[in-house]
Homo-oligomer: 383 residues x 2
């Protein structure tokens, strides 16, 4: 039992109400319940909704780890995690009809808040030593709502829910990406309320990027998940940078999933390409380029999770962030379980990240404790 | 004047014969000569061949730096580079009709060889101190030839040209990517002749990956060059890994452009996604996954250039490669010139990479000298 907090800031839930809503749908995202009583199937990626695959085998099996908070708590205990900041998993509420967005975001966020309150009301011997509560949450936003004011209202409302510590968002924004000027009221509200945005991929890259759907499917989920997801995040935040979001909203705070996708590694190349782009005013062109550079944004506006599965990536992330104090431990639970999971299994997808942190920062115990939990406690104001 | 070799292994030429061949073309890639006597325009990317842009403004201006070896030598002298391993720039010979491939690869490679021989026949005071010659080359392959034996023959023939030190190749292969089993004779020939393959991007990602062509063009070349190129390289080498190329050809040696695209940063995630892919035999599935893991391939088969423009990326590259002895300095010349170039300008795109190497390895002078030149001398057998 750790005597310091180990905080998982990247851990998802599909709440029971959310899964029921997906059960009522017939197109992506949806849940299919096999007639034979086998595990439900969750189909969230278009590439998984292949008509040539029987519905009972499409997507991935949904077991209780997706929605049962007791399973999450058992997972935490098994892996030494004292606190989790739970978030709705992708694709969140992106796909909702305009009239459904507000009601569903309120319902989901209230459910998350209630789950946190219920869990935290019980004394847990494995976490009490840290003095930090067991559960917090990032809220979901009604991005398909007919008016940005509805999104802004939900951001404001979340500040009154005691366990909310930010919001999670995909890269689609209002449907046209995160460089869409129509998002300015949302960025303004996040900055003004000091609400952390957890930016997370879902859509990946088009199959053509990998050589077509036949190539993509040949290797299962490896290309979309290992490469498509990180690039999606990198593209999204680079578009924000290029469009001047960080110039207009210098107080915006963003936590990037998967250690920034590939942003830490490519930051230098992005910086160089901007400096050499003839189109930008600063270089004699006619188009307004970004004023602040990528390193400044990395060191001021961006936090990175430590879900990168190796020291090579983690070293780049720490260096690009300017300090290990901007890195936060996460697991991506319930994704990447052991393929033949037993109830008491330790997940390699978790231990790989523990080892990378220990291997990279091991000589500095304070730094290790910071990445594992102290940074999250400070940045998210957990108490 | 350096008393140790500084070797640029990532430096391109469009030979005069190649540019003339592009002048005779009307579709990408092609060269357009404005009627008003202004600089020729080089249109190599489909995204630059926009019918709404006047032909005189499409693509990029081609000046003498693209083809005149004297300009290259002046660039080298100005930046302290004692030796360059020149290679034909993208898109190489990928686009040639089947009947033209062999004759053009022989012509280009013979021209490159002759250029090296001519330059090296003169005593150059700025390089003589190193004992290493001034120019070497990577050859181009006739990948569109009607039979793989023609490609294999050219690989064999290149071994007899005294300045050739490997071949450069894009990610298209024979047209279907580098996991195409029809490439096996090529991999076999490269491995058997111990010919280094310099793998370089050209095709980037489809515009849809960035949000459509309107988004891509809004930011000039930043998204395709800063993000598309590195991902293309990463996808290509990951497809090679997934299809078992490195299992079948464990002696293959590949130099990856731009420090591997994003491979060093994503290696851990790739490794984790493979380990968690239900489709692969090792995990209980029916499809053969790779036997060797990404770290083994990085430490055995792969070399990385140091063209990553920052310490964050370089640290990941060195750690992923397993040693700084697998990193090699490069410039990407003639690309990324200062936008208002004067004849004696020092290029920030070059100094940024020098500084990253010094910043990352500065306390180990031998390591710095290795990355700047010693590793290339050893790995490419320069003498």
């Amino acid at each position: 039992m750790a005597d310091f907090p180990i905080v998982d800031i990247h851990t998802h839930v599909y709440t029971p109400a959310y899964l029921d809503m997906l059960r009522a749908r017939k197109k992506v995202p949806y849940v299919h319940d096999p007639a034979n009583g086998a595990d439900s199937r969750l189909i969230i990626l278009s590439s998984d909704d292949d008509a040539s695959t029987p519905a009972d085998q499409r997507g991935r099996p949904v077991d209780s780890s997706y929605s049962d908070i007791e399973v999450k708590l058992a997972f935490m205990k098994r892996h030494g995690i004292t606190t989790s900041v739970i978030s709705l998993a992708n694709p969140w509420l992106d796909f909702l009809d305009v009239d459904d967005a507000q009601i569903w975001s309120e319902r989901i966020n209230n459910d998350l808040e209630e789950t946190c309150a219920q869990v935290n009301s019980k004394t847990r011997t494995d976490t009490v030593a840290t003095g930090i509560k067991t559960l917090y949450a990032f809220g979901a936003l009604p991005l398909s709502a007919p008016d940005a004011s509805i999104i802004v209202n939900e951001i404001t409302r979340l500040k009154m829910l005691p366990h909310m510590r930010g919001v999670i968002m995909g890269t689609s924004g209002l449907g046209n990406g995160l460089d869409d000027q129509k998002l300015d009221p949302v960025w303004a509200a996040l900055a003004q309320t000091q609400t952390l945005l957890f930016l997370h991929p879902h859509y990946g890259l088009p199959d053509e990027a990998f050589g077509g759907s036949e190539v993509t499917q040949r290797y299962g989920h490896v290309l979309p998940l290992a490469l498509g997801f990180p690039l999606e995040t990198t593209i999204a935040v680079t578009r924000m940078l290029l469009s001047g979001v960080f110039d207009r909203f210098p107080d915006l705070k963003i936590l990037l999933a998967h250690s920034g996708g590939t942003l830490p590694f490519l930051a230098g190349r992005i910086d160089s390409c901007i400096a050499h782009e003839r189109k930008f005013v600063a270089n004699g062109g006619s188009a307004q380029g970004p004023v602040r550079d990528v390193w400044s944004v990395l060191n001021t506006n961006i936090y990175l999770d430590a879900v990168v599965y190796g020291e090579a990536g983690l070293r780049a992330a720490i260096h690009a962030a300017g300090s290990h104090e901007r890195l936060l431990f996460g697991t991506d639970n319930p994704f990447f379980p052991p393929l033949s999971e037993k109830e008491d299994d330790i997940w390699p997808s978790v231990t790989t990240n523990y080892k990378a942190i220990e291997g990279t920062l091991g000589e500095d115990k304070e730094a290790v404790r910071g990445v594992l939990g102290g940074n999250a406690v400070r940045i998210l104001n957990l108490n």
